[in-house]
């Protein structure tokens, strides 16, 4: 049984690609056979976050234009051998792939993979339509900022019109600000968007650090964001994992943070 999930957001820069990479690695390390499809043609980054940027030969555009079959374009991860990336082209633009071509490809891949994760570009134009068409359900990623929440709602309206089930991930929460009443928390965003929330990811320096290395943070045991992503992976697999309370840094931790370097 294959599950096709699109990771989308509306607004750019909220962490779609980071979420896709972490979900992919998390699912693969549980033994699932996973393919990640980057549909952000022209602005691809999923390859970088996974550390696979130097191994790309063919792209999604070559596949849908039938120059190669998808097996030739897949890049297999060295460490997680049941994780594959189907990269997109960095030179073509979003019009290079028609939604119908994408649907055909996803249908063809279903027999081979447990999970097909599609990283959607920002915006609501053709790139969005292409990314969403083959998906069984959607993960909407947002930040606790008014602009990101508003854009998320726009995408949610479009997804609901297309009869897609939606789950929410709130990324880059700063616990201290939530505690001080200067940042929306997951409960408030839940109330505004009325969706099932499957994750709240704290803002964590390790996310940037791990992106630098091309190793998704989900595998690092000492990262709050990594722990949140592991919980999200569990919830995607259907496990009932209770939400942990956000951890506010103690005075000493904050001091260490400031003088740490």
């Amino acid at each position: 049984m294959s599950e096709v999930i699109v990771i989308t957001s509306g607004k750019g820069g909220v962490g779609k690609t980071t979420t896709t990479a972490n979900l992919g690695v998390g699912l693969a390390s549980r033994g699932k056979k996973v393919v990640l499809i980057d549909t952000d043609t022209g602005l691809r980054n999923l390859d970088l976050l996974l550390g696979l940027e130097r191994r790309i030969v063919y792209t999604l555009v070559d596949v849908v234009q039938k120059r190669v079959n998808y097996g030739q374009a897949l890049v297999r991860h060295k460490k997680y051998t049941n994780l594959f990336l189907l990269p997109t082209s960095q030179v073509a633009d979003k019009t290079a792939i028609e939604p119908a071509q994408m649907l055909e490809l996803v249908e063809a891949m279903k027999s081979e993979f447990d999970y097909i994760l599609i990283d959607c570009p920002a915006g609501i134009e053709q790139g969005y339509e292409t990314a969403v068409i083959g998906a069984d359900w959607a993960i909407v990623v947002t930040n606790p900022e008014i602009s990101a929440v508003r854009d998320a709602d726009k995408i949610i309206g479009k997804l609901q019109a297309a009869n897609k089930k939606i789950k929410l991930v709130v990324n880059r929460i700063r616990p201290q600000m939530v505690k001080d009443g200067t940042m929306l928390d997951m409960t408030a965003i839940d109330d505004i968007l009325s969706l099932e929330c499957i994750g709240q990811v704290p803002d964590d320096d390790k996310v940037v650090d791990s992106a630098n290395r091309g190793v998704p943070v989900v595998e690092s045991k000492d990262s709050a964001a990594g722990e949140a992503y592991r919980d999200i992976v569990g919830r995607v697999c259907g496990e009932d994992i209770p939400f942990k309370p956000l951890e506010v840094e103690t005075f000493w931790q904050r001091l260490k943070h400031v003088f740490g370097r």
Binding site: I146, G157, G181, M183, D191, L193
Partner: protein, 91 residues
């Protein structure tokens, strides 16, 4: 203790509470796809109809879209100055 402090601190709304309220308002309008111009037309038409029957305070009148358990409701708050007895029996 907390309430005690609140009395002296005055009632101030945190920015996250403001964000919550502002988003709820703006998303209803985004979703309903009603432009401010249309809202203005609706308001003027309501005034026209109601004015046959009662004298209302047009300046204090408010209409807005609100979310009521997953359905959008048009909520009007119309202060009535007095009834118009003649107009009310005209029909």
């Amino acid at each position: 203790m907390f309430d005690f402090l609140k009395i002296f601190g005055g009632k101030s709304e945190s920015s996250s509470e403001q964000a919550h309220k502002r988003l709820k308002f703006v998303l209803i309008h985004d979703r309903a796809n009603v432009s401010p111009e249309v809202m203005e037309h609706i308001k003027n038409d309501i005034i026209k109809v109601i004015s046959h029957y009662m004298e209302i305070d047009q300046k204090a009148m408010e209409i807005s879209l609100e979310n009521d358990q997953d359905a959008v409701a048009l909520v009007a708050n119309i202060p009535v100055n007095r009834m118009r007895p003649v107009a009310g029996h005209r029909r």
